[in-house]
């Protein structure tokens, strides 16, 4: 046993590195005092070390701490995405002017970010139902604080409050669902649940209710309609950096946990997806519910995005809509679907972070988050506008950007699994999305600027960060074999 624990610790190094970073950030905050914005560099260094440790885990396929956490290609894939997201968020935060309103507590801000990333690392690896819940709560609670970080601003405080209330309700759903599942199957980890389901359970309807509750709990994290109501307000109210974090990393982690849970417990055992059940359950198995959520999410979010005047709200709805596209993959119950989801999530991370970073820069310079503030930006800052256009084209899903590849794979997987109606809905949703993405591009390039407008000049740091985000969005659009191969290999989970 002791040997297992010691071995497990060595398999747990990235998470340990994150913890050390967190402590280092606290200490640095105390030492640096007035110059506490430099905590960012401590965290950045910590994240780079973590990234290297994650890279070392490539190819491992183990379960550590007595089936608490899996270190498998699937987890490594998502940890890598999360740590990249973390690095970018820290860089964004350094460039953000908004956060300076609460500059005395900026050290705390970076600590919390490290804490959230730690929670997400656990989320993508957790195989024990209780640890899953704990990891889920760890990220949620830290996020509540982050969303309200600029607490002197009324809308930020409001965002935090709404986030807490919705979050609490949904995590209630999740823990209720988990406790029912534990009661029905008598197992505490997902492998046990799988074995119990394979052996067959008697309380079919209770199981069904439990699964629906767990889906609801996850839906809140990944902002699937109809559990998305918190998202636009929170995304609008929170500082842009945190909005980006919630819209990208938090969603990626939520999806990872959801995929692992359903893939291992349900897809493997075939439970609830095969005919032979009676009544309502037989007609609407859980994957149909997921498909309906996905369809609703795509349509509703894209429609609601049409009326937005605030760019953050627009991107919020757009990111909800993308959750719908991604969710399609899980409803298919195929490995092809899951690898398509992973490709989508990886690409989504870059394009969405890019779009939000442009929003952050524009807000810094123009003090406005309105879409009308983008009028004539094409003349005032050609580079910024071209970058934004590329990110939006990618989000809309057109070649030659990576967004196209993401869409092709998820559409392809759906067609190949025979869900033609779902692809049709997705196609329709994509068409609707064109209208609002094009509106921003239209404002930037086609509307002439006012006479008085001055050029917007970017500093070198921001330009460099933008270029770093543009490279994957463009490169993965033409040369995407690496990400596709990686995602296909990373479908491997421990215990399959």
């Amino acid at each position: 046993m002791a040997e297992h624990i010691i071995e497990s610790i060595f398999r747990f190094l990235p998470e340990i590195a994150l913890t050390v970073t967190l402590v280092a950030a606290v200490v640095a905050d105390l030492i640096l005092k007035e110059r506490n914005r430099n905590v960012a560099w401590v965290v950045l260094a910590g994240l780079v070390v973590t990234a290297l440790l994650v890279l070392r885990q490539a190819g491992w396929n183990e379960s550590i701490f007595s089936d608490m956490i899996a270190v498998d290609p699937f987890a490594v894939f998502f940890k890598m995405l999360l740590v990249i997201a973390g690095l970018f968020i820290v860089l964004f935060s350094v460039k953000s002017r908004e956060l300076e309103q609460n500059i005395t507590r900026i050290g705390e801000y970076y600590m919390l970010i490290t804490g959230v990333i730690f929670g997400m690392f656990l989320m993508v690896g957790a195989t024990n139902l209780l640890l899953m819940y704990l990891a889920f709560e760890l990220t949620s609670i830290s996020s509540y604080v982050l969303a309200g970080f600029t607490k002197s601003l009324r809308k930020s405080a409001e965002a935090s409050m709404k986030y807490i209330i919705y979050g609490a309700v949904s995590s209630g759903f999740l823990i209720y669902g988990i406790s029912m599942l534990v009661g029905i199957t008598g197992a505490i980890d997902i492998y046990g649940v799988r074995d119990a389901l394979q052996a067959g359970v008697e309380q079919q309807s209770a199981l069904y209710v439990a699964v629906i509750m767990i889906i609801v709990g996850f839906s809140y994290k990944i902002t699937a309609v109809p559990f998305h109501f918190w998202a636009p307000d929170v995304y609008e109210g929170a500082p842009v950096t945190i909005t980006t974090f919630l819209a990208t990393a938090s969603k990626v982690a939520g999806f990872a946990m959801m995929i692992r849970f359903f893939r291992i417990s349900f897809m493997e055992s075939g439970a609830l997806s095969v005919p032979g059940l009676d009544g309502f359950i037989a007609i609407v198995p859980w994957n149909i519910i997921l498909a309906i959520f996905a369809a609703l999410t795509m349509l509703a979010a894209n429609l609601m995005a049409l009326w937005q005047e605030n760019i953050k709200r627009l991107l919020a709805y757009s990111s909800i809509a993308h959750a719908g596209f991604i969710l399609m993959g899980l409803a298919l119950l195929t490995d092809e679907g899951i690898s398509a989801m992973m490709i989508y999530l990886a690409i989504y991370l870059f394009m969405n972070m890019g779009a939000f970073f442009v929003v952050l820069l524009v807000t810094n310079k123009l003090d406005s988050e309105l879409i009308s503030a983008y009028e004539g930006l094409g003349h005032r800052s050609p580079f910024l506008s071209v970058a934004m256009t590329i990110f939006l084209v990618a989000l809309a899903g057109f070649p030659p950007t990576a967004g196209f590849i993401a869409k092709v794979y998820i559409f392809g997987a759906t067609v190949s699994a025979g869900w033609i109606w779902l692809v049709a809905v997705a196609g329709l949703a994509t068409i609707i999305s064109l209208f609002y993405y094009i509106r921003v591009v239209r404002n930037m390039f086609l509307v002439d600027p006012e006479e008085s407008s001055e050029p917007v000049i970017l500093d070198y740091g921001s330009t460099a960060i933008l270029v770093l985000l543009l490279i994957p969005v463009l490169l993965l659009g033409v040369y995407f074999t690496p990400i596709v191969t990686w995602a296909k290999d990373a479908v491997t989970m421990f215990g399959m």
Partner: protein
């Protein structure tokens, strides 16, 4: 030669880098002219070396490695009889388009020419691509520059026009993307050992037999996309707006090249991929084509704006192309291809000419002009030739295309009625009415507007850019076989192949397994199918 084809396609795209280097507007113009002329010159060997008797496989074929993970999607370009003329039309028009906007574009010159060059690469790619997926990618590549060309350098309502154009087109093509993925999987299962494929050679393989119901839906999805792009009658409303608001260069590219992508795609993909559906729906498309001919002509007649008039005449001319393609015989399809080229030349010339007038007078209203002929004699001659070509006067190019199409339609077995040709021929008469009436009002009569007295004749650059077009207008009119010979073998082969495959699929389909509407729909052409059966038996 394979390498040369790739160079021709990508030269304009890399030319953009050159434009970014040179800063002065004047140099930007000269470098774009240089790049487009070089592209044209380099494309000439492709035409001269082309083997006109070869059928069934493209020439100068480049086949890359599959790049989409474990899908069999390849970079694949080549030219065959269907694409050769349109490919050459694209390289030929590019320097002319650059010249035509020499003095009218003064805002963001480098941006403007970069967009033109990117558009050029995209268009060449669309015509040369032989993988359905690559075709889609190249097509999207043409959309973005077009959006900016109209949106930034266009007229007063440019933003509305460009957004409408953009969304209209993409709506259709997204639907097609879904259908495309379906076709890829189906083809993979039937002819490629279960591996997703969009390779043109496999999609036209005889073993690739889509069921009739599948074909119907896929045909409609593809057809919808192409109908919008052409545009065919009920989906045309973006066209006049986009044409009117676009800058001259934009209108010319749109008319000469962009619209051809739709008609080309019908011939290249829609008909061969879904042979039974194409034959069954041929009368419907022919009706839409005829409606387009008459409707476009009637609406053109009442226009007060010269540019809009030309735009509506485009709808009328493209109606002919659609009619010719769905006649399902060599003459009709040949006519359609040559008509695509003709429309590119004559309508392109008309847009350039209208642009010249606009540049001088800053108005497009017919009533503002009058009596210009005396002031601008050379211009009048050019305008006259373009107008007559557009009408279809024998001896000029328009006549050749329309005549072949009408003959083809008249004898068409698939359409089975001469009325299409008879009503279609009315379009030629109407064209004479609206074009000549417009010409008379603009060019002749007394000078009613003082402004017109100050007009100066076109300069050397303007004459120089119109002369090559006029040359080809006459050449095609006098010796059409110099051009039709390129597509003849391939078109004949394609249509025969399509019919044979349609017959095989129909034979292999058990009637009782079809839903009622499908068996009724595919009963439309029993004699067609049986004809081919007879032929096969005789062999």
């Amino acid at each position: 030669m394979e390498l040369l084809l790739n160079i021709v396609i990508y030269l304009p795209l890399f030319g953009v880098l050159l434009l970014l280097l040179v800063r002065k507007d004047e140099w930007v113009r000269w470098s774009s002219l240089l790049i487009t002329t070089a592209t044209f010159v380099l494309s000439l060997p492709l035409l001269l070396q082309f083997d006109i008797t070869a059928t069934g496989s493209a020439q100068y074929l480049t086949v890359g490695e599959p790049f989409l993970g474990d899908w069999d999607v390849k970079y694949m370009v080549g030219l065959d009889g269907l694409s050769m003329l349109l490919f050459m039309l694209t390289t030929f028009m590019a320097p002319i388009v650059v010249l035509s906007s020499w003095s009218s574009i003064n805002k963001h010159v480098a941006g403007f020419y970069s967009m033109l060059l990117i558009l050029q690469t995209g268009s060449l790619g669309v015509f040369a691509a032989l993988d359905l997926f690559m075709f889609y990618v190249f097509f999207e590549l043409t959309q973005i520059p077009m959006f900016f060309l109209i949106g930034i350098w266009g007229g007063k309502d440019r933003i509305y026009a460009t957004v409408k154009f953009f969304i209209y087109t993409l709506v259709g093509w997204l639907l097609m993307l879904v259908a495309l993925i379906y076709v890829g999987y189906a083809a993979g299962n039937m002819v490629n050992d279960g591996v997703f494929t969009t390779d043109w050679r496999l999609l036209t393989d005889h073993a690739f037999q889509l069921g009739l119901v599948e074909q119907t839906w896929l045909f409609l999805a593809f057809g919808f996309a192409f109908c919008i792009k052409v545009p065919i009658f009920p989906f045309h409303s973006w066209l006049p707006l986009a044409h009117t608001e676009a800058p001259t260069a934009g209108s010319v590219v749109l008319a000469a090249i962009a619209l051809k992508m739709g008609t080309y795609a019908v011939l290249r993909y829609l008909i061969p991929l879904f042979p039974n559906a194409a034959i069954a729906f041929a009368p419907m498309f022919a009706v839409l084509g005829v409606i387009g001919i008459i409707y476009g002509a009637l609406v053109a007649m009442v226009q007060k704006d010269v540019k809009k008039l030309v735009a509506y005449s485009s709808i009328s001319h493209l109606g002919f192309v659609v009619l010719g393609m769905f006649a399902f015989n060599t003459i009709g399809a040949q006519g359609a291809i040559i008509q695509m080229v003709n429309h590119g030349l004559s309508t392109g010339a008309l847009f350039i000419i209208v642009g010249m007038l606009y540049e001088r007078r800053h108005t497009r209203w017919i009533s503002d002009f009058g009596g210009i002929a005396r002031k601008m004699p050379v211009f009048t001659v050019m305008f006259m030739i373009a107008t007559l070509a557009s009408i279809g006067l024998p001896g000029l190019n328009g006549f050749v295309g329309e005549f072949l199409i009408l003959v083809g339609t008249f004898n068409s077995e698939v359409l089975g009625s001469y009325w299409y040709a008879v009503i279609g021929a009315l379009g030629v008469i109407l064209a004479a009415v609206y074009m000549l009436w417009m010409f008379q009002r603009v060019m002749f009569g007394p000078v009613t507007n003082e402004e017109n007295n100050k007009l100066t004749d076109i300069n050397a650059r303007e004459i120089g850019l119109l002369i090559p077009i006029m040359l080809f207008i006459v050449w095609i009119g006098v010796r059409p076989t110099d051009f039709t010979k390129y597509s003849e073998a391939e078109v004949t082969h394609l249509l025969e192949d399509t019919r044979t495959r349609a017959a095989t699929i129909a034979q292999n389909t058990a009637d009782d397994r079809l839903p009622g509407w499908a068996s009724r729909l595919y009963d439309v052409t029993p004699q067609m199918v049986s004809n081919v059966k007879h032929e096969n038996q005789e062999e």
